[in-house]
Symmetry: none
Subunit: 534 residues, 2 copies
């Protein structure tokens, strides 16, 4: 049995630019519990009041799978452990388990802490033996273990032995600087196994791009605890990525750990943590990235579906992810039919509708449209082509003025817009006025245009108030054409429940933004209508 020990909330929270609120931490705790991780290291209560608050709040959660763990340093030099306020904070948390880190590298003890090697051993012994009185499980994180072993193997092992004597339930070898290579991990684990009997664990960092393999190697050597974070969050290059470790362990290596069924939750947990750490979810993350199972254009849909094992190293659904096949002209009709089905539209492979949609897709692609990340525009395209989407509004003109008065003045922008709704929509809503002509301003032209369009449309469609723009990307498609370049604007919108992407391409960047914005609103209106029809 290999225990998964998550430190997203403690070591992961040390990532530059990441700041979890208490609410965030509780949400992540619940998600991790549902996933089934065995230990959740919630923070270092003695280090700051925010961490302390977590341990108070988490008592209110009913967790089915995970044990909450509190983290701490060894007692301060010169202080008795009973008198160390940091250690006392730990005791107050009343969690089922605690983890204490101590120096295993002689130089760190003498130079960084400024204590003798003997004293360091005493700190470790005192702290762990004391905590064993209060906690069912006490883990020892042997900080800088691998570098320490390379520098002074006897001493490094001594720190483990002392922790073992004190009653530590697991000795976790930490690659704190992250520079240990895989074969060194093998050698060092082999050596340590000869010296101690207590269960071993691993805590790797990714500075040499080795954290995942180092963790799996430790397991193969008999380690029973693997520490890591979701998405490999963590300072510098991050901690060992549990989103890679867990599927490899359970699905590929057949190791008993988190139940296989639970892994379907992995993708969602991964996305949640990206969301709450306010970082884009890297599309190329193994297992849980958007593109992890996205096949390139040349691969035929039919080929993959007939025998997925030929193209995929595992089934995406096992980790909650899904296969993606690009809509490309090369594989044409099968793609269109499959895509239409994803949108809830049944089309016949040889039908004129499919031909129409395919031609429209090709036409747009030739103009520079790509539909990755713009499923909203694609769905509108499909449904408009087969008469399943209305014309919700018509543009009667917009004008966007950007002005900058001098080198020292900031530029600003003003947009005016006129839109008209169709007769039947006005009739449905009992409205007399079909046209709205309004204006808005903003720091930039796209902001001004978005505000103006929103103002105009919300007059007719108040349901659009919930729509927010969460992501705005621009790519210049033929950059070498200078200012005659072709901008492609990709927008992501949300209504609080779902998210959708829309795209616009035009040599005029404002027009490209307009197209993506208009589609974002049309998409929402189309979805609202579909809801009503059900």
């Amino acid at each position: 049995m290999v225990y998964i020990y998550d430190t997203t909330l403690r070591d992961g929270a040390q990532t530059k630019g990441v700041s979890f609120s208490l609410e965030d931490k509780l949400r992540i705790t619940q998600a991790l519990d549902e996933l089934g991780v065995h230990y959740i290291e919630g923070g270092w209560p003695g280090s700051n009041p925010k961490d302390l608050a977590y341990f108070e709040a988490v008592k209110g959660l009913r967790l089915g799978n995970s044990k909450v763990v509190a983290f701490s340093s060894t007692r301060r030099k010169g202080l008795k452990v009973e008198e160390d306020p940091n250690i006392q904070q730990l005791v107050k948390t009343e969690v089922p388990a605690v983890t204490v880190f101590g120096k295993s590298w002689d130089l760190h003890a003498t130079q960084a802490l400024g204590i003798s090697l003997e004293e360091n051993l005493q700190l470790i012994y005192d702290t762990i033996s004391y905590l064993k009185r209060y906690f069912e499980e006490v883990f020892f994180d042997a900080e800088h273990f691998f570098d320490g072993y390379k520098s002074n193997p006897e001493y490094a092992v001594k720190t483990l032995k002392v922790a073992e004597e004190a009653g530590a339930d697991c000795l976790v070898l930490c690659d704190t600087n992250g520079g240990t290579l895989w074969f060194e991990t093998e050698e060092i684990f082999d050596a340590v196994l000869k010296e101690v009997k207590a269960p071993l664990g691993i805590h790797a960092h990714n500075d040499a791009d080795m954290a995942v393999v180092n963790s799996l190697i430790a397991v193969r050597k008999g380690a029973v605890q693997v520490q890591g974070t979701i998405n490999g969050l963590g300072e510098r290059t991050g901690n060992a990525n549990l989103c890679s470790i867990i599927p490899n362990l359970v699905l590929k290596m057949g190791v008993e750990s988190i139940p296989k069924e639970n892994l379907k939750k992995l993708y969602k947990v991964s996305r949640l943590v990206s969301e709450l750490s306010n970082r884009p979810h890297p599309a190329n993350l193994p297992f849980v990235g958007e593109n992890a199972f996205a096949h390139k254009a040349g691969v035929h849909v039919s080929a993959v579906e007939k025998n997925p094992k030929l193209y995929e190293h595992m089934e995406p659904e096992l980790v909650g992810n899904r296969r993606k096949i690009t809509v490309s002209e090369l594989s044409g009709r099968s793609n269109i039919v499959n895509k239409a089905r994803e949108f809830g539209v049944e089309l016949e492979k040889g039908s004129p509708e499919v031909k129409k949609v395919l031609e429209r897709v090709k036409e747009l692609e030739a103009q520079g449209y790509h539909f990755e990340g713009a499923e909203g525009t694609l769905e509108l395209l499909f449904k408009e082509s087969v008469g399943k989407a209305k014309k919700y509004f018509e543009l009667k003109g917009f004008r966007v003025l950007t002005e900058k008065r001098s080198d020292n003045d900031e530029a600003y922008a003003e947009a005016t817009i006129k839109v008209e709704i169709p007769e039947e929509v006005a009739r449905e809503k009992g409205l007399e006025e079909r046209v709205e002509h309004t204006a808005a301003e903003g720091r930039g032209p796209v902001e001004a245009l978005d505000k103006a369009l929103r103002k105009a449309l919300e007059k007719f469609y108040p349901e659009l108030k919930s729509v927010k723009l969460t992501d705005y990307k621009v790519r210049i498609l033929n950059e070498a054409a200078g200012t005659k370049a072709l901008p492609r604007v990709l927008i992501e919108s949300t209504d609080g429940e779902s998210k959708w992407g829309t795209v616009g391409v035009s040599p005029n960047i404002i027009e490209a933004s307009w197209l993506a914005l208009a589609d974002a609103f049309k998409y929402k209106l189309m979805k609202e209508e579909e809801k009503k029809r059900r």
Copy 2:
């Protein structure tokens, strides 16, 4: 000797959303050559005209270290190799080496290609033996080798043997689906080494987060060629990341490959590729990420500098990266002095000028400026800060109007601009009128503004007629902020002799473009003046 084989331009270019222009590819080729990679796989000439164009254009580059390689499939079933146009395209490239990929997995041959196992062997043999007549080096990429070996080891090895017989100079085992675990790589390499004598290579993908270690394990087993991409670019989860492999190989494992000195260029190559693939440079990339050596706040500057080995697994400078400690100017000043020297300006390390430049750089970086690819703006910044560049013109206002009259009308734009030249410049040129107020139009607002600015400036500075904008890129810096996002515009200009990059950052995309455009012209004027002074 281990040869580094870069496929950023071929396999890496297949990444979703990445599209390299010809200009981009040539820039990357030059950067890779300076880094010292041994082979640069530039594309698949038979697959599309863009790839073909690269091989024509690259003949014009003078490369000191790298050999350009063309990529191709084996001949098409049913066609004689001499009659296969794809293979003939290959021959026309006149590169020093070619790589041919063929199926090593029996099921792929029979199900995906629809040919017999014998026929598949024939395709491999024919293609390689034919190409050996035209090329000094012919490499065989054994596609899906590891899965193929697991499925039918004898057949997989047979494909290698046949390639060896045909004269292949290296047999590259490809983990095409990316699911091979490290110990499987060890076992399979051991088995293959018993069966073939030709040199071996490795081409790994990162689907199981194993690509880097699989590549290094291959080297330990005696592989002489490692294929990968910069930043691990590539479809799905990416190819093996050369930015992790190279430092591990050369600096940690002491393997003879790219000279140690050259590794200092790694960081810049990595940033260039991110820039040109229009993707954010992941801060947590091992070795080359912004945060790879960013120490958390708790670590004291003095402690790290006294004994960096206690905190860092290696020296950042070895790969061209730098240590970051949150509050510290210390690493700032040396950088400034070195950069100034590059621009032909000698500065004293402790001087107020250096402090001024450093502050300006930090200020701009805090606003979102990065200077990679924008050395023009950086040089202007340096020289303006130390009084070595004039104020060539002042903006007295611009207004850019974008109008779109209906859904069916194309948008267009008109810009008016007023600029003023300084008194002394007017005097020098014997001009009475210091102000030019003019207008221009274009399909888009940036085109209109560029034309208007050009018109205005050429009145005073006819030398600017030779300046052309060759590249226009936009990156949105904090995409998750929606339309309140922060655009960064990167422009490349040329006067027919040199090229220079300039950058502008502003929440207003027109203003960001203005800043980059204005710098582009100022840079040219500064250079003209420096020429006169010599």
